[in-house]
Amino acid sequence: MRVAVVGMGVIGRRLAAAVSAQPDMTLAGVAVRSAGVGVLARPLLPYFASSSQAIEALRANGIEPAGDLAALIGAADLVIDAGPAATGAGRFERYRDAGVLSIFCGGERDRALGPLVHPALNYLRALGQPSIRLPSCNTTALGRLIAGLGPSDVAEIRAVLVRCATDADKAHKGVTNGTVFDVRPAHHGPDLESLVQGIRARVRGAHVPVICGHVALVEARLRTPVATAAAGRISRARRVVLLPQDQPQNTAQIKARAYRTTRRGDRYELAVQLAIDDPDTITAWISLDNEAITIPEAIDAMRALSGIEDAELARDLTDAALLRASAFPPEQMEVSVARRHHL
């Protein structure tokens, strides 16, 4: 499958690397608006200019564009759009008219872009669709937690997100020494309710001046008193790592471990610290890499759109390729794999 990536920002450059690592996918190219950090670090990728300004920006940095956005769409079977938030609708018609499959990242709100799909919760919903939307990083993480607990057992989710104020490559955004909080419910609640039938979800959040990943305190109320069984399930869940319960955890240390063992410090796993206070309630701190956690599900979604019906097979292919690509060379793989289970 030939895959075009739109955007080379925080998500786009990780997608470009992840697609390149998949044995059954080819990176057709990347559409960019400017020559940002990711472009300058990978000047040899095939870049397509999404505007006349982009042509100038690329050439000013010694990069000759391979064409424009139309040319990229024409060279692809599937476009994954990681452009700026809420701009995907402006490109949707171009993808549709060209007859390419499309996936929109980052929680695009416009339902005309297709159904919201979280491959751990509703993989089959993507089969046969020409276009789908993927949830945001926090919804991806909460959805992974629900999938691990067992969606049919979860009646209600309440979560408080503590979010990074900015992305790691943007020093100019965010608060410096403060917390921005908001009592209004965030979009993650309705997103989860659309992904899991019959669940009630309320999510609120705050921003703090860190860049080492989001955390959230989650309370999951179960339909029956099966908390121990649900906790057992999540300990075996895919892309989830359990943190020790007997001591405080520190996102800086979690991130530092990822930095030591992977090329970019990307952490695809959701780290979970569990507590069972009542038989029908699970409380968890979750720690997620807001820049990387959506990548495995995005690759799964590409496989779903391409017609692979076996979700487990799709995940196996995704995880194997991502592990190969993100870890340091083979002599370090053993260390990396071991560390995943001893965060």
Binding site: L40, A41, D169, A171, T176, Y259, G265, F328, E331, Q332
Partner: protein, 234 residues
């Protein structure tokens, strides 16, 4: 990264004895180069045994470790300045967290004056001094340096990389660029912005580096010691 010959020989496996803040990073860097660093508990100051019959390297701690990290970067930068500069002055922003442990003691929204570091010895004839400030920053070390010398020119070679202007403007973009290159968080090069001659006989530049630059020199030095070579810059 080139794979140093000899480190794969089990007889030559270096052993780090005792507690050292950068032990785990040194072990990871060694593994990344195809070697194997053995970490072993021991009483007394941390030390590195480079191989059977080789001298033991005493590993610095505290202020000595800061100085070693900075001097390693200074040496690499100074080698790229022609003629070799007579002296250096400036300010170094020291990360709040060591590489091997997350910050647990601040500073929070504050800057701590760690003191003046004297630069002495054969490297700089006129010597120099750097003020060290500890800041709430964990991505890398940042040094604003002024090198003194007649008609000095900058000729980057070896483990030095000059960043394009847009990337050198802040450590957020600079460090993400280095991560995107794929050498990991502990990138081995010293990264500099475009040097400027603010006045005759003075070259100003902003440098960013991680502890890996020093640690790689330590590993290379350890290897040379085990092979009986005398290091020229010690």
């Amino acid at each position: 990264m080139p794979r140093p010959a000899g480190l794969t020989d089990p007889m030559a496996s270096p052993v780090l004895l005792g507690d050292w803040p950068l032990a785990c990073v040194l072990a990871e860097l060694s593994a990344r180069q195809g070697g194997r660093l053995v970490l072993r508990d021991a009483v007394g100051p941390a030390r590195l045994e480079c191989g059977r019959g080789s001298p033991v390297i005493q590993l610095p701690g505290g202020a000595g470790l800061r100085q070693a990290i900075i001097e390693a970067a200074l040496r690499s930068i100074a080698r790229c300045i022609e003629p070799y500069p007579a002296g250096v002055s400036g300010t170094v922003l020291v990360p709040a967290a060591g590489v091997c442990g997350a910050a647990s003691s601040g500073p929070i929204d504050a800057i701590r004056d760690v003191g003046i570091m004297r630069v002495e010895g054969p490297q700089f004839a006129a010597g120099g001094a750097l003020r060290l400030l500890q800041v709430q920053h964990t991505r890398c070390w940042v040094a604003s340096l002024a090198f003194a010398g007649n008609d000095v020119a900058f000729c980057p070679t070896g483990m030095l990389r000059v960043l394009p202007d847009p990337l050198a403007a802040d450590t957020a973009r600079a460090t993400q660029f280095m991560l995107d290159l794929g050498d990991g968080f502990y990138w081995p090069e010293v990264v500099v912005g475009r040097p400027e001659q603010s006045q005759p006989g003075r070259l100003d530049l902003l440098a960013m580096f991680t502890e890996a630059h020093y640690l790689n020199q330590l590993l290379a030095g350890c290897l040379r010691r085990s092979e009986g070579e005398i290091l020229p810059c010690e």
